[in-house]
């Protein structure tokens, strides 16, 4: 922006009123604070806790360590957003999702850079970002199609019109894999909101920077506040609360810890929680079936008469 474009008033060496702009070695870089993402805002965790994450360039980032209270706040925000998100037209949701891809495309170099700081090789990071963008575009296109593919008009015996359609199950908790990357995050998150659900995502500390960067893209891409919420923190600590919160309708487990998964299942049984097994061995090729993982089928009857 500042490099000698016509119209730019500030160029190297020139003063800007309060001193010079130094692009050289003396310039102090501006570090970013990574907070959590709830209801379209970026508050700090109410607990005041943090966990340091050391990036490959030696920078230490203090990541918010989300608490149970943050999770509860996120669920409140998600519930608030649920009705308006699921009742939007599919076309509208589709455009909003596509908008995420547009903005991510514009910021892909930043994301590559951030991934490199998380010890991903430059070439792999580039591939990962491009794949993430294409995954978003893929699901953007599903918004107004999965209902057609998975609905049915049922030929019942009797004078009734009877049809079945998928409906969002509601609030979906997503527990990400600490060894996964941006692509896994996007592949698990997008089907949730494609299907009209809202999402409360636990982000492992290892992925916090890239996830919160993604949250910034999401916030500026017309996704209403509360539709996606991201909570960096310690999974083992938050998992019991994901499993027992009565207003979370479904939880996707993408980690790889058998004991954690067992704990989630046991807690979920108290309220017939829908638990989706997305552990690495269960990962399938991208498709609409991931959308259906967090859908309910509703069947409606009406008499046909005179």
């Amino acid at each position: 922006m500042t490099e000698g474009k016509s119209g730019s008033k500030i160029s190297e060496g020139q003063t800007n009123g309060r001193g010079g702009v130094d692009s050289g070695q003396n310039r102090l870089s501006v570090a970013k604070t990574y907070k959590i993402f709830i209801g379209g805002n970026f508050p700090r965790t109410e607990s005041g806790r943090y966990l340091p994450l050391v990036l490959s360039d030696g920078t230490v980032v203090n990541i918010c360590n989300s608490s149970r209270k943050d999770l509860r706040d996120a669920v409140v925000a998600a519930r608030k957003a649920q009705d308006s998100w699921s009742s939007r037209s599919a076309y509208n949701r589709s455009q909003i999702l596509y908008r995420i891809a547009e903005l991510l495309e514009g910021r892909k170099s930043q994301f590559v850079e951030e991934l490199v700081k998380l010890n991903v090789t430059a070439s792999h990071a580039k591939k990962e970002v491009l794949k993430a963008i294409d995954t978003i575009v893929y699901y953007a296109g599903w918004c107004d199609k999965y209902i057609q593919v998975f609905s049915s008009v049922n030929p019942v015996s009797g004078s009734y019109f009877n049809f079945s359609i998928p409906e969002p199950t509601g609030i979906v908790g997503l527990l990400c894999d600490e060894d996964g990357g941006l692509v896994e995050l996007v592949s698990d998150l997008l089907p949730i909101i494609t299907g009209g659900n809202t999402a409360v995502v636990h982000v492992p500390i290892e992925l916090a920077t890239i996830a919160i960067d993604l949250a910034e893209v999401i916030q500026t891409s017309d996704v209403p506040g509360g539709v996606i919420n991201m909570l960096p923190g310690v999974r083992a600590e938050l998992l019991p609360h994901f499993g027992s919160h009565l207003d979370i309708n479904s939880v996707i487990y993408a980690g790889r810890n058998a004991e954690e998964f067992l704990q989630l299942q046991s807690l979920g049984a108290d309220h017939v929680l829908r638990i989706v097994d997305r552990r690495p061995a269960q990962r399938r090729e991208l498709g609409p079936y991931q959308i259906m993982d967090t859908q309910e089928i509703k069947t409606t009857w009406h008499p046909v008469g005179k």
Binding site: S152, P155, S157, S164, N249, L262, H271, V272, I297, P303
Partner: protein, 492 residues
């Protein structure tokens, strides 16, 4: 408008000399043995402990037959039989599998009368219902699913569906044969083998089905039917060779099963309790709506998971609806399940009658107003409950929140669609709902807004094998019936 309606015609007088003559269904032609063993590998074998329990006719309190109580060893035999049968059953080919199901459907149709009578004897439901609904629908389930056997690749685009393996199926006492068909037919069509456990109080039609299955020539071990109490069901759920659990029953037991299955690779579908909202808007065809209310809650003595047990009536027509509803309740005949005039048969068991009475007491204690029809109740040792209606209830009342599973209806009023949607959805359940209105746009606002797996508009309590069934929230996980129901028995 409501004011002008104040002077309604006087309540109808049903206390006349015009009584229905008894019209009992002939039960001479049915064949019931004195005792029934476990059906394993196409043979009836006695339980290892030689332990039997009686199955009771709830209309008389008398024993009909002795039923085997399966122990862990018996359950193990049945599961091993099902597991051994898998390979051959899958090898036989989808076309042939389908043909077996078609044949079973036909055999049920041929013996429908006998099944209907036994169903009413063992479970207490009116013969009119078992004859017109339970048994024909059971046959229809086999017929519908038969055709799917060789067409599964068309049901799931871009997927290669495979059978799950051994399906353990546990069913309730409210629709004994229908539930058995509802479970067995899709499991077999998708290439699985089955161990079915009927409910303790209603095992007879499932055991008659076992005879019929043997007669159909189905390879041995493909369907095994084991009887017993909850401990037999628990052993079945725990068995390591079981690959899939299909359970229909209470939410309480469903949760126990879900907890037991934590950490296992077993697939499961749960079809649990409900507290269905039946909503009457002011523009509804009131007489039809009243029929819908009656059918919604008093069908099968209210022993229906999707019963319309919470009635919501728009304020402007509430008075009229209550009057007509009470009139209609007075016409209901509580009596001998085998009598064709009977509308409400016997409550399924002594313990269920106790539960219902406990809830009625609780309702009164909480300040709700009880109306029960004044009809005669048969004497003797049967289990009976008059059709009951509670008015003056609120959302917080136990009788509004908990599933009673009996002929007990609660009535609340509302003013706006938004209000009633909030009230209707304010429950842990989400199995079914009904809405009555003449306005198309309102129907879709309501059916879309109701968080329930099955929504009946201007009708209630309709079932079909082609129509997926199952609940939201604590009413269950997964669907049964229709194309969507196949997924529960397949892996991809």
């Amino acid at each position: 408008m409501a004011k002008s309606k104040k002077k309604m015609s006087p309540a109808l007088d049903f206390n006349t000399q015009w009584r229905y003559k008894p019209a009992p269904e002939n039960s001479d032609h049915i064949q019931i043995q004195k005792a029934y063993d476990l059906f394993i590998n196409n043979e009836f074998i006695p339980p290892v402990n030689a332990d039997y329990f009686p199955t009771i006719n709830p209309a008389t309190g008398k024993k009909i037959a002795d039923i085997a109580q399966a122990e862990n060893i018996d359950i193990d035999k049945a599961v091993v039989a099902a597991s051994k049968a898998l390979k051959a059953w899958q090898k036989i080919g989808a076309v042939e599998r389908g043909k077996y199901l078609f044949r079973i459907a036909r055999l049920i149709q041929e013996r429908a009368r006998e099944f209907a009578v036994i169903e009413s004897l063992d479970g207490g439901k009116p013969i009119r219902e078992s004859k017109n609904i339970d048994i024909p629908l059971a046959a229809a389930h086999f017929f519908y699913h038969a055709g799917w056997a060789d067409k599964l690749q068309y049901a799931f685009p871009n997927q290669t569906p495979k059978p799950v393996g051994v399906a353990a199926q546990i069913i309730p006492w409210n629709f004994p044969l229908l539930m058995a068909a509802w479970k067995i037919a899709p499991a077999l069509a998708t290439g699985n083998t089955v161990v079915l456990k009927p409910a303790e109080t209603t095992p007879l039609t499932a055991l008659k089905l076992a005879e019929l299955i043997r007669e159909s020539g189905l390879p041995s071990g493909v369907v095994n039917i084991v009887t017993g109490d909850g401990s037999a069901g628990a052993a079945l759920v725990d068995h390591p060779m079981v690959n899939k659990i299909a359970f229909t029953g209470s939410t309480e037991v469903g949760k126990i099963i879900q907890r037991k299955l934590a950490g296992s690779a077993k697939k499961y579908t749960l079809e649990l309790g409900g507290k269905g909202a039946n909503i009457i808007l002011e523009d509804a065809a009131i007489d039809q709506a009243v029929e819908g209310i009656i059918n919604g809650i008093y069908f099968n003595q209210g022993h229906v998971c999707c019963a319309g047990s919470r009635l919501f009536v728009q304020e402007s027509v509430a008075e009229l609806v209550v009057r007509k509803l009470k009139d209609r309740m007075e016409t209901l005949v509580v009596g001998d399940p085998l009598d064709k005039n009977t509308d409400i048969g016997a409550i399924n068991s002594a313990s269920q009658l106790r539960t219902i009475k406990k809830y009625i007491k609780k309702g009164i204690k909480d300040g709700a107003e009880l109306y029960q029809s004044k009809c005669a109740i048969p004497g003797g040792k049967g289990y009976w409950c008059r059709p009951s209606l509670f008015t003056n209830v609120s959302q917080a009342h136990t009788i509004v929140q908990e599933e009673i599973f009996g002929p007990v209806l609660t009535l609340q009023t509302f003013r706006t669609l938004e209000e009633v949607l909030n009230k209707a959805n304010n429950t842990f359940y989400g199995l079914s709902a009904g809405v009555w209105t003449d306005k198309g746009a309102k129907i879709f606002t309501m059916t879309r807004g109701l968080r329930a797996g099955v929504v009946w508009a201007n009708t209630y309590n309709k079932f079909d094998p082609a129509s997926p069934f199952g609940g939201y929230k604590e009413s269950g996980i997964g669907r049964e019936g229709g194309l969507h129901g196949l997924a529960g028995y397949l892996k991809f």
